[in-house]
């Protein structure tokens, strides 16, 4: 019975995506009449498990925009390229999309791949948008037309700290894995914690392929810190973390990055995460988020988690800027994207909007929310913003 259900489910998913794809591709009959937007995604590499749901959101937003008559009287045509999360391939694919005449590129792969692709887009200053949360993406390279809409690691930790302030933390343990994003998030978590006067007494890495996290978690237990911060990305290794946490009978509060919002955890670490607080970029109470949720539910017949919302915002961010620019000229689009301050997407806390006035990472610092796992589901928002 179970297998039949799963197979049918898988079949429906495939059909759903295929349907979306035809919806997106339809109207692309005359290529000159479309606005081409490139997507570099990971379909076959190790970032695939979160890139695929995000891609769903990108496609959904495109479909709806096209159904509403498109942009500037033209349909949007998505050109999707797979980089397998390989940085060198990602850079090549960026060039391929530029050659194909895209007006902008959405990077939906790891931060390492996105960074290497940036070295290609910087040459032509074609607009590039990502929801990746790595703080270094807009800092290492001075790419004037690179925009980041996801919550940065530094915002995540500030939000968590604001939430934790009532708990009066003095010390904290920091656990992550050896993935690139996990490492970068951990770095900004540490900076953020120390800025708030919390001492990070234990820093542990659970490397990919570990069989147990017990040695690391024993050190965490021995340090008796007031809280445990989790910056890891990998589902398997994070499950090991939760197992060891339970086995050692730890009681400290766990505060996680937005990676814990990946629904996989609700299955692999089922029942182990009750009461865990994590950063989410989506507040279901926000009207823009509700619009997204409704659209998603209509398309797929179920409630979305936050991941597709990232893709939804990536695309809608571009669409509104193209509309305001009134043109697909890259310099004008670039300026319009820069001037998107005040535009509200599905991401971000209720009442917040993107803000690009201070930099190219536009996620409103007050936009991240803290949610709690309840009944093995993403529970209510318990805190929002950094205050």
């Amino acid at each position: 019975m179970g297998i039949a259900r799963t197979m049918i489910g898988a079949g429906l998913r495939v059909l759903g995506v295929a349907g979306l794809a035809t919806g997106v591709m339809a109207g692309a009959a005359n290529a000159a009449d479309t606005i081409k937007i490139g997507v570099i995604t990971d379909k076959t590499g190790n970032a695939r498990f979160y890139a695929e749901p995000v891609l769903q959101g990108i496609m959904l937003a495109t479909k709806i925009a096209n159904a509403n008559g498109g942009v500037l009287g033209k349909k949007i045509e998505l050109l999707i390229e797979d980089d397998s999360n390989k940085p060198d391939v990602s850079a090549s694919k960026a060039q391929k999309l530029i050659d194909a005449g895209v007006v902008a590129i959405i990077s939906n792969s790891s931060s390492t791949a996105t960074q290497q692709a940036q070295n290609t887009t910087i040459k032509t200053l074609i607009p590039q948008v990502t929801h990746n949360g790595s703080d270094t993406l807009t800092r290492k390279l001075d790419n004037k037309c690179f925009f980041q809409i996801g919550p940065l690691g530094s915002i995540q930790i500030r939000t968590l700290m604001a939430y934790a302030r009532s708990k009066k933390l003095k010390t904290a343990s920091l656990v992550t894995d050896n993935s690139a994003l996990g490492q970068i998030l951990a770095k900004y978590f540490k900076i953020g914690l120390e800025k708030s006067g919390v001492k990070v007494t234990v820093e542990e890495v659970i490397p990919a392929g570990s069989k147990s996290a017990l040695p690391q978690m024993q050190k965490v237990r021995a340090a008796k810190t007031d809280a445990i911060f989790v910056a890891g990305v990998l589902a398997r290794e994070n499950t090991l973390f939760f197992r060891a946490y339970r086995q050692l009978g730890l009681k400290q509060p766990i505060m996680g990055s937005f990676n814990l919002s990946i629904p996989t955890f609700l299955r692999t670490a089922k029942g182990l995460m009750e009461g865990v607080t994590f950063i989410d970029a989506m507040d279901p109470a926000k009207p823009e988020a509700q619009a997204f949720i409704a659209a998603y539910q209509k398309e797929f017949g179920k409630k979305p988690f936050s991941l597709p919302a990232y893709g939804w915002d990536d695309m809608n961010f571009l669409i509104q800027a193209i509309k305001r620019a009134g043109s697909t000229d890259k310099a004008k689009l670039c300026a319009a994207l820069q001037g998107s301050t005040g535009w509200a997407g599905a991401l971000g806390a209720k009442g917040t909007a993107y803000d690009f006035s201070k930099g190219r990472a536009g996620f409103n610092p007050q936009g991240a929310v803290v949610r709690v796992i309840k009944n093995n589901d993403h529970g209510p928002v318990v805190h929002s913003g950094t205050k």
Binding site: S92, K96, D99, T112, Q115, Q116, T120, K140, A180, Q183
Partner: protein, 316 residues
């Protein structure tokens, strides 16, 4: 003289191509050249010298990181950075070779695999020196003799490295050294009985080809002006091995064909058949090994030999 003309002609053709290509094609072209250069030197190491090392990409990474770190962090001028980086790669290769060439067959594969893994750990943990997991970026190739090198320029530098690699390896392959390497590959006991110093020959082959990989890696570092650990990991090392096997291990032309075919299939087939491409890739490798252990070049030779035989029969 004719041979020299042929080289010059070949180089000219290769160097004209980048100016005819669209930027994306150009990017593929120089990355393809990078793979071909690595495949040529790896073929000498694996196909001719018989050493199944999995450290070749690691040495490309050592070259790439070394030249960038020396240039941007030690502040060396490009020329000096290249020389020091090559020396560094040679020293490391020699150390690995002295230890690892004593090992046979899969033991060598395991030891070099462990070395490659260790390098990734070091790169990931290297802090600001290596840029950790994010790698190093935001540097540029400085002007060479006053010329600012752009996309086609980096392709031409890659061509120079590739042709130098090929020329050097062809020359030593057609000498007593190449014969010694092949002899060791085929039967190291008999090779020793013929007066070949097995350990020394293997060490020279390993060090030389690893330095060549480092040289190719240095040029690669300026393609996207980024170096990061994933590119130099085990996936690509195995890909390189497959290129040489599919093309025809032991044959320079085979290595080139294998590299071109597998790299292009990755770039052109994948968008069409999606993930089935990777699966088909495994099937091709297995079938190649099962049907013709000398790869595509072996198949070609077989067909040619049959034709010649048929013609002889027809004539007589």
């Amino acid at each position: 003289m004719v041979a020299l003309m042929r080289w010059v002609g070949g180089a000219a053709v290769l160097c004209v191509i980048p100016f005819l290509l669209q930027p994306y094609e150009l990017d593929l072209y120089r990355k393809l050249l990078f793979w071909v250069a690595l495949a040529i030197s790896y073929n000498f190491l694996f196909g001719i010298s018989g050493q199944m090392a999995l450290s070749h990409f690691a040495f490309a990474g050592i070259g790439a990181y070394a030249v960038v770190i020396l240039m941007t962090q030690a502040g060396l001028p490009l020329g000096l950075a290249v020389v020091v980086a090559l020396a560094l790669a040679a020293a490391l290769a020699l150390i690995v070779a002295l230890a690892a060439t004593r090992l046979e067959g899969f033991y060598l594969a395991l030891a070099t695999l462990a070395f490659a893994q260790l390098l990734i750990v070091v790169l990931n943990e290297g802090g600001s020196l290596t840029g950790a997991t994010g790698g190093l970026t935001n540097y540029r190739l400085p002007p060479i003799f006053g010329f600012v090198i752009g996309g086609p320029g980096t392709a031409i530098i890659m061509i120079a490295v590739l042709l130098a690699t090929l020329a050097i390896l062809l020359r030593i392959d057609r000498s007593w050294f190449g014969r010694a390497c092949r002899a060791i590959r085929d039967n190291s006991e008999a090779a020793a009985a013929m007066g070949i110093d097995v350990a020394r020959t293997k060490t020279i082959a390993f060090t030389t080809t690893s330095v060549m990989a480092a040289a190719a890696g240095m040029v690669y570092a300026f393609f996207d002006n980024t170096v990061n650990p994933p590119v130099f990991g085990i996936d690509n090392a195995i890909m390189l091995l497959f290129m040489v096997i599919v093309g025809g291990s032991g044959s320079h032309l085979g290595a080139i064909i294998g590299a071109v075919l597998l790299k292009l299939s990755q770039d052109f087939l994948e968008p069409i058949v999606g993930h089935y491409h990777a699966l088909g890739f495994g099937v091709i490798v297995v079938v190649a090994i099962l049907i013709q252990p000398k790869g595509l070049i072996g198949m070609w030779d077989q067909i040619r030999a049959r034709r010649v035989a048929a013609r002889k029969r027809a004539a007589s």
